[in-house]
């Protein structure tokens, strides 16, 4: 693979809570190539959002310890960058959109102002030019009647339209990487499909890399080229999307796939993974998934498994399954 656009090495993020320190992200590594779509999938509490926020150093302040590890972009470690350089990258080279479009836009500023802010800040445009460009961007994200909408306030727009505005803000300066944290979770299913289509088209047009974070396997199947599965703060599997769905290598991935409702199969009850994610402050010896794993072995409870290579662009944190794959090969 050519040199990745963004490379995260051993990122660890810890929070202080009332019950003590908790490790939200535990030595997570990932890489995104140019123009590639990487999906990160996992339940709430898996650490996927914190990982994404840490790339731009947007995690909340005083209760977080400074993350350890490296986030390499353009030959520099973002975690060690002075804030002013970080701010130059934010919004112009690496952009981010968030889950809840209703609250992610400032209610007292117009759409033009909020989109224009990025343009004025990073490209030095004046107000008039920025406003014109904002209208173009609204057209690009398929908002009808853009010239009128641009002067409105966010509360006049529906959830789907607000998310499009967020996307417009994010791509305004043609970033090389877009991080989308659950962009469709708060939207209706029909709008979800439209937004995903839009993201896909924009990615192709602008040649952007995209990291898409979601808990929805269906969205992953539609969008990602490569997938990273996270559980309890750790990466448990990475694979190209086709291989992940056809031959998963981790029991957790099995569970996620089994829980997808299928149109052509008749089931009485949707299978669910028994148990729940571990207490984030608890220290578990051995594999973190072992309490819930249907094929757990004795050594899983005592030996913490490493992320093992399992083929080109494949890794899995389950020694028994990786071994089985090698035997089969």
């Amino acid at each position: 693979m050519a040199a990745p656009l963004l490379e995260v090495n051993d990122l660890t993020v810890r929070f202080r809570t009332d019950a003590g320190w908790m490790t939200a992200v535990d030595r997570v590594s990932l890489a995104v190539g140019e123009g590639e779509a990487l999906g990160i999938v996992g339940e709430s509490g898996s650490g996927k959002s914190v990982t994404a926020l840490s790339i731009l150093r947007l995690h909340a302040g005083p209760t977080t310890r400074m993350p350890t590890g490296k986030v390499m972009y353009g030959g520099r470690d973002l975690l060690g960058l002075p804030m002013r350089d970080m701010r130059a990258i934010r919004g112009s080279e690496i952009a981010m959109i968030f889950q809840d479009p209703m609250s992610s836009l400032n209610p007292v500023l117009t759409i033009a102002d909020q989109i224009g802010e990025s343009l004025r800040l990073h490209q030095g445009l004046d107000h008039a030019t920025a406003r014109r460009r904002a209208v173009e961007l609204l057209d690009l994200v398929r908002i009808p009647d853009a010239a009128r909408r641009v002067d409105e306030y966010p509360h006049r727009l529906s959830g789907g339209m607000r998310q499009r505005v967020m996307i417009a803000i994010a791509i305004a300066c043609r970033p090389k990487l877009l991080i989308a944290d659950e962009p469709t979770t708060a939207l209706d299913v029909t709008i979800q499909a439209q937004i995903l289509d839009l993201l896909r088209d924009l990615q192709a047009e602008l040649g952007m890399s995209v990291i898409l974070i979601t808990h929805d396997m269906g969205v992953i199947a539609e969008f990602a080229r490569r997938v990273m599965v996270m559980y309890a703060g750790r990466v448990v599997e990475t694979a190209p999307v086709g291989q992940l769905f056809r031959r998963p290598l981790h029991p957790y991935t099995d569970g996620l796939l089994a829980a997808i409702p299928k149109l052509d199969v008749d089931v009485r009850r949707l299978p669910a993974i028994p148990g729940s994610i571990p207490d984030p402050t608890a220290v578990i010896p051995g594999c973190r998934y072992s309490p819930r794993c249907p094929m757990v072995q004795a050594r899983c409870r005592t030996e913490a498994p490493d992320l093992l290579p399992a083929g080109p662009e494949r890794q899995a944190r389950c020694p028994p399954r990786v071994a089985a794959l090698e035997h089969a090969a």
């Binding site: 731009l56 947007l58 005083p62 701010r87 130059a88 990258i89 934010r90 919004g91 112009s92 952009a95 981010m96 968030f98 809840d100 609250s103 992610s104 836009l105 400032n106 209610p107 007292v108 500023l109 802010e117 990025s118 800040l121 990073h122 306030y153 509360h155 967020m166 803000i169």
Partner: protein, 315 residues
């Protein structure tokens, strides 16, 4: 927008009506016989009766009420028994004093109160936050009139910087004398308001800083100062403006006491002296003017609110 103003005005009318009736009834609760007070202690009972007849005090209360309303309709707010002038002229004479005092106090209160609140919220849970909040707490806990007296003792009597009491109009003494006669009372008055405003602003700002759109601003690469001043502060103003009316009410209420302490011939002092002297037409008329002014202030605050929060603007 004009329809909104008209609507608010029409809603204010019943309130003012009820308020007027209340003020009227209040004054007739005041003990003491005004007719006697005017006639003097050694006037004959017939002379007292004659005065009572003149003032219409011997008629039944509902009739007096109606009479009063009819006077009000033509702008006659009554005549002061003690001062021997119309209530309106007495108020107009003293308006500049109260307005100057309130104005200087407000000019001090707004930036300091808002600023302290923002600072405390941004550096929450640090020593800065603690210092600001302790100061604000002291502001709302110290009695204004006591601080005023202590201030006079120190700054006027001991240091001799400012006059201990009295008001110097702009026309007579020029800018500095006018200002120095008002600065002490204005600051003392401002102490409570600053404490009050700082606490509310901090609370509002904390809520705003937790909102998602602040994270969006940072994700765009916006610097901290702009994030706070443009994104956070404008949203903080929304809840703060809603308490603007209360703040002004506290300010005017406070000035009533402060004017007494510093012997400033303002409207607050007028009312207090009127109450103590049982000059009920004066008190009635002045209270009513206060009420009207207050309702107008509230409508203005509502209008300001629509400018601050675009969600409320249409209709």
């Amino acid at each position: 927008m004009y329809r909104g103003i008209l609507m608010r005005l029409s809603q204010a009318v019943p309130v003012l009506l009820i308020f007027s009736v209340m003020v009227f009834m209040l004054m007739h609760l005041l003990p003491g016989d005004p007719a006697q007070a005017i006639a003097g202690p050694d006037a004959s009972p017939e002379a007292v009766d004659k005065i009572r007849e003149q003032l219409g005090l011997n008629r039944p209360l509902p009739i007096q009420l109606l009479e009063w309303f009819s006077h009000l309709a033509v702008g006659n707010f009554g005549e002061s028994l003690v001062l021997k002038q119309t209530v309106v002229s007495a108020v107009i004479e003293r308006l500049p004093v109260t307005l100057s005092l309130s104005f200087i106090s407000l000019v001090i209160t707004l930036p300091v109160g808002l600023g302290l609140g923002v600072v405390a919220a941004y550096w929450r849970n640090t020593w800065i936050d603690a210092c600001v909040m302790v100061t604000a707490l002291l502001g709302v806990s110290l009695p204004g009139f006591w601080v005023g007296i202590l201030s006079v003792l120190y700054f006027s009597v001991t240091l001799g910087w400012f006059p201990p009491s009295g008001y110097v109009p702009l026309s007579e003494g020029g800018l500095w004398l006018w200002f120095s006669s008002l600065i002490q009372p204005a600051v003392v008055l401002a102490l409570f308001q600053i404490g009050f405003l700082a606490r509310i602003t901090r609370s509002a700002m904390l809520d705003v800083l937790d909102q998602d759109f602040i994270r969006t601003a940072r994700a765009k690469g916006v610097d901290e100062w702009t994030t706070i001043s443009k994104h956070a502060f404008r949203n903080t103003l929304i809840p703060v403006v809603t308490v603007l009316g209360i703040t002004l009410s506290l300010l005017i209420g406070g000035s009533v006491v402060i004017e007494q302490v510093f012997a400033l011939p303002g409207i607050g002092r007028l009312i207090v002296q009127g109450i103590l002297a049982r000059d009920y037409p004066l008190v009635q008329g002045t209270m009513l003017l206060f009420g009207f002014a207050f309702v107008v202030i509230n409508i203005i605050v509502d209008i300001i609110y629509t400018f601050v929060d675009p969600r409320v603007r249409y209709g």
